[in-house]
């Protein structure tokens, strides 16, 4: 109905990244990119029934969330949107080696490819933190869930650009001394932490990624 008043210029002039799933824009979303009120991440991954596979990390299907009563396990399922509520410590096995606690909800949606051989789209979306809203990197004892270490990143005040630097510092700090990984309650030596980005893995981080 609005053909007579359709914009003349290319859509890219109206909104530069108007389709997040186009090949050009996808390359900017392989990590996370804040756009307006949300932060978007879209990765091409093999998504099948009961299995989400990253080419470099292996299976990243297992999601863990922590509540007052202990751990809850869930799996990424094709075409199912899952919301991890703000404030819930969550960890994705072999994907990032810490418990992420953010003040914003985090939404996961795996869309399989058009054929089993074709990678699909693993979509992650979370609100953009503002003001005193933070991201936290935490470690809990794998045996008794005692908190071992926590690092706070003031992403609301500093902007999301501070996230990856803080993540790197948090992991380095945690891994710097085995005493950080030793549980003061039960004595368990916990595995090393590691960053989301595989390229940051040293030997210790590789051990951690393989383990949890």
């Amino acid at each position: 109905m609005f053909a007579a008043i359709q914009v003349d210029e290319p859509l890219e002039r109206i909104a530069e990244d108007w389709d997040f799933l186009s090949d050009r824009v996808l390359s900017h979303l392989t990590t996370f990119k804040p756009v307006g009120q949300n932060i978007y991440g879209v990765r091409r991954r093999h998504i099948g029934a009961g299995q989400v596979t990253d080419l470099r990390k292996g299976s990243i299907t297992e999601h863990w969330e922590m509540g007052p009563s202990g751990l809850v396990y869930w799996e990424l399922r094709p075409f199912e949107l899952h919301v991890t509520a703000a404030g819930t410590p969550h960890h994705v096995s072999h994907n990032f080696g810490f418990w992420h606690i953010n003040d914003m909800d985090e939404l996961y949606l795996p869309i399989p490819g058009d054929s089993p051989a074709e990678p699909g789209h693993s979509i992650v979306l979370m609100g953009t933190p503002r003001g005193d809203e933070c991201d936290r990197f935490a470690w809990y004892c794998e045996r008794c869930l005692t908190m071992l270490h926590e690092y706070v990143c003031h992403t609301g005040a500093e902007g999301f650009k501070a996230f990856y630097k803080a993540e790197h510092e948090a992991v380095a700090q945690y891994n710097s001394d085995p005493a950080h990984r030793r549980c003061p309650e039960c004595g368990t030596l916990n595995p090393p932490g590691y960053c989301w980005n595989v390229n940051r893995d040293g030997e210790l981080e590789r051990q951690g990624r393989a383990r949890w």
């Binding site: 609005f2 008043i5 399922r77 919301v83 819930t88 953009t128």
Partner: protein
Amino acid sequence: MVDEQATGRAIPEPILNWTLRLADEAGHAAPGCEPWRTLGQHDAWVGRYPTAHPPLRVQEMHAGRCAEFAKAGYLMHRVAAGTPYRISRLFGFWHISDADLTWLQVQRGDLTLYLALAGGATGLRGDHAVAWYCARCGHEIARQAFARAGRTGAFLAERSRAAVAAFNATAEGRRCPACGWEHPPAYPFSPLDPQAADAPPPPW
């Protein structure tokens, strides 16, 4: 029990029913729509339309011109808060709100899946407005603002209905004050009803 002492913050109970299934694992689903759901900081709506159905398309108004963000297959588009937008054949008015909207389209076989996610930021006031623009010259014909009117899903599905009825009340109210073009009647949020499969889709 989880140790909360170090962080000093209470850990909430995980909410495992904050899930929404667009289709089964093979991408199959019966045509139809889910009602809007509030999932924490976002509102979500799912539509499953036969591919033969005229596509739902995001349209935005920019300085009196209409931009339609459409393509076949996969699409994910963000409508910035404050931008007048509509989804063609889903609701017959332009919506303006203080929440971003993320629109996802996935075409799978004879089905097109749509997902709308509204929100993201905390502390939004829930300000909304509905408007109509002249399809001949782009002039704004009518607008009604709703301050602190709640979440996007409930607004689109329910609270906007009164504004639609008011706009439709007289032909004169639908006439463009700039060029005299008469806007066709508006229609409220109208998701696909599989029980009325023979009914024609909304025309615009």
